[in-house]
């Protein structure tokens, strides 16, 4: 199959749309649930809850893949040289995978 930009473009739009909802939920939880909800015990309870774990994992993967692909798009705008593009791609993928595993470990292994 010919490599086409269209699927990536669609995924970027879709992840953007989902992120819009997730970011608003994230924002409400972090800033509008009252000061008392930000104590360690509450964070602990939330991070131990399987539903919140699922939310966080989706948020993590979409945020990173969307952000990574967005960066790759910017590289495509500015970088003409193939070697620079490959280095940038390796850097973005490596950073993405590193941050993803860090997030994965935090979310999965966290328990009260």
């Amino acid at each position: 199959m010919k490599t086409t930009g269209s699927w990536w473009w669609l995924l970027q739009r879709l992840s953007g749309a989902v992120l819009l909802v997730l970011i608003m939920a994230h924002f409400v939880v972090m800033h509008y649930m009252g000061f008392e909800k930000r104590l360690y015990a509450d964070v602990l309870a939330r991070l131990s809850n399987p539903l919140w774990k699922t939310f966080d994992l989706i948020f993590l993967s979409l945020g990173l893949s969307h952000g990574g692909y967005g960066l790759w798009g910017i590289v495509g705008d500015y970088c003409r040289s193939d070697s620079a593009r490959i280095i940038a791609l390796i850097a973005i993928v490596t950073a993405g995978l590193f941050l993803f595993s860090l997030g994965l470990v935090t979310v999965l292994t966290f328990h009260s």
């Binding site: 086409t4 930009g5 699927w7 003409r80």
Partner: protein, 238 residues
Amino acid sequence: MNQSTNKYTFKIFRYDPERSPRARYDTFSLEVAKGMTVLDCLQAIKASQDGTLSFRRSCRSAICGSCAMNINGKNDLACHLQVSLLGGRTVTVDPLPGFPVIRDLVVDLEEFYRSLERVLPWLVRSSPFPDKELPQSPAERDRIDSAVNCILCGSCTSSCPSFWFNTRYLAPAALLKAYRFIFDSRDEAKGERLELVDDRNGLWRCRTIYNCEEACPKLLKPNEAIAALKIEALKQSV
């Protein structure tokens, strides 16, 4: 109204690499009569003040696209824009941004035409042409109606930041031309055309900035054409 109150100052970009590697602005003062366009003023300045002032023009009626330039920060056709419609008494004229300047207001459109060529700007058919005309319904014609009106002045491509970074980017004018044939009911090369624009230097370099729509002196919407092409490319790859 006193005639002498109609004096305008023209601040014009000058560059002549045969004389000096440096660009500069020259200012000219000109009496502007009612109804005069920016092109009329440039011609008057060239005729009476500085014969070396260089710019392109041909039709003088907004149809050939030769006289596109940047006037008070906006790309427009000099022959179309009346000076009285501009705010203030100083008119700053620059060559179209994003293209190499050859001299004064004359830019090198080589890359612009190369991009255009890449999208095959002609009708492609494998089936034979009918004896008489090739009919098209009014609805089919409507689909491409505005895109057909493009006069290739370069204002949109010149206003596009994605093109500024990367002159290999097809850019709005060529993509609008691609749209004009891809959605033409008489054309039979849709698949091939979509592959040409579904490219690293094609559709996906558009960042939906909308400068092209603002720049088009013919009020066309290259941005909408690009959006339609993105969807079409997606449909084709399903």
